[in-house]
Amino acid sequence: MPKTGSLDPDSTLAGQISIVSGLPRGGKLPTLEQVRGPGAPRRFPLAIAETVVGRGQQANVTIDSALLSRRHVVFRRSGPELSLADLDSQNGVFVNGVKAHSAVLHEGDTIQLGDVVFVLHEAAE
């Protein structure tokens, strides 16, 4: 319990409000659940404004698949909106089976990069 008159950040913020732009209520992060491809199953919280996924070391999320470009796709958070953009990858980005240059994303969308498949969860962690 916080003392009266003091500020306990954990208790003040937990699960109630978000004062950070773009963070859903309760501080839950949007997450990519990798369901297929090297390293699956695993989860990648989208904790920063821009997350680059690829097979190269320059990517924020590195996946060891020859079918991925070094910097394949970027996931962006802007306020409550989540989107992705293909970074001119060799094999493209498929959102729910459609080859997309860019897309606004929603809960449950499947995103395929080569042999890697993610399911997006808007606030899962």
Binding site: D86, G97, V98, A100, H101, S102, A103, V104
Partner: protein, 295 residues
């Protein structure tokens, strides 16, 4: 290899804007599709999605917007975004509005009309951009690098489809068309819902070989009998048109305002199943706001 074209959906809803949590995935803004090809900014319809496009054009930092606007027709859900199209207020913008039929500049007149003081606080004449009308000649307009063809559709008051030939790519925008009134095998299609719904040869030729067909598929088969004459097609009929015309990708568009995201997905799944049953190579999906394709 020719320059790529980019197609982005800014509004995919039919009839009336439908915001809310039930329509987040496919979006609630009414018809607006952007086609970029080289320096060309081509806009299909000015529904409420046009507002979002205008804001995005400004955000892209384009100092001067030069846009070509093609209206399928002038019903509310295809023009309401125009008064909120920010580039129309910029003195250095240029907007060309196309009329398919010669004679009175109907399109421009109607854009004027919705900005009369009874309806909107800013008068059309006060817009800063240079706005001019241009008319198709014999259903074709050449933009120097892009050829646009028009095709008259079945809709109350008439509407037009447009085929954009951008280099080697063909994009067809065909919304607000009641395809089901045009079937050449009405009896067979009525008796057997699974039978291929045959469309007139001229329409199939207009769409033929498109890399992307964006087509009004507002209704399910079950809904359509209650909506005959309203000017919109069954999604399953759109699937049949796409298959007959050898379309590569087909985006079902102009979603019913009564449809939640789940309902749209059921409608799309049924149309995909129909294509699969024919062994079709057409990829069909539901057009949704914020999706951009590179062709």
């Amino acid at each position: 290899m020719s320059e790529p074209s980019f197609v982005r959906f800014w509004g995919t809803r039919g009839s009336i804007p439908t915001p809310g949590h039930k329509t987040r995935r496919y979006g609630g803004n009414t018809s607006c599709v952007e086609i970029r090809h080289g320096d060309f900014e081509l806009v299909c319809d000015g529904g409420t999605g046009l507002r979002e496009l205008g804001l995005d054009l400004v955000q892209r930092g384009r100092p001067r917007v030069s846009a070509h606007l093609f209206f399928s027709h002038m019903h509310w859900d295809h023009i309401q975004g125009f008064p909120f199209f920010v580039p129309a207020y910029a003195k250095d913008s240029e907007i060309v509005v196309y009329d398919v039929e010669a004679g009175r500049p109907r399109v421009e007149e109607l854009l004027h009309g919705q900005m009369r003081s009874e309806y909107f606080p800013v008068n059309f004449g006060d817009l800063g951009a240079e706005i001019r009308a241009r008319t198709f000649e014999q259903n074709v307009v050449e933009l120097g690098g892009v050829t646009v063809r028009s095709f008259e559709q079945a809709h109350p008051g008439k509407s037009f489809a447009y085929a954009f030939e951008c280099g080697e790519k063909k994009i067809v925008y065909a919304t607000d068309s009641e395809l089901d009134l045009l079937l050449t095998n009405q009896d067979e299609a009525g008796e057997d819902p699974a039978a291929l719904r045959r469309l007139p040869a001229a329409l199939v030729a207009f769409v033929e070989g498109a890399d992307l067909l964006i087509a009004d598929g507002q209704y399910t088969d079950a809904e359509y009998p209650h909506k005959i004459g309203w000017g919109h097609a069954r999604a399953n009929t759109v699937a049949d048109l796409a298959h007959q015309a050898g379309v590569k990708q087909c985006a079902v568009f102009h979603h019913d305002p009564l449809h939640s995201d789940d309902a749209v997905e059921q409608k799309i799944r049924a149309a995909c199943d129909r294509l699969d049953a024919r062994g079709s190579r057409t990829l069909l999906f539901g057009a949704r706001e914020g999706l951009e394709l590179k062709l």
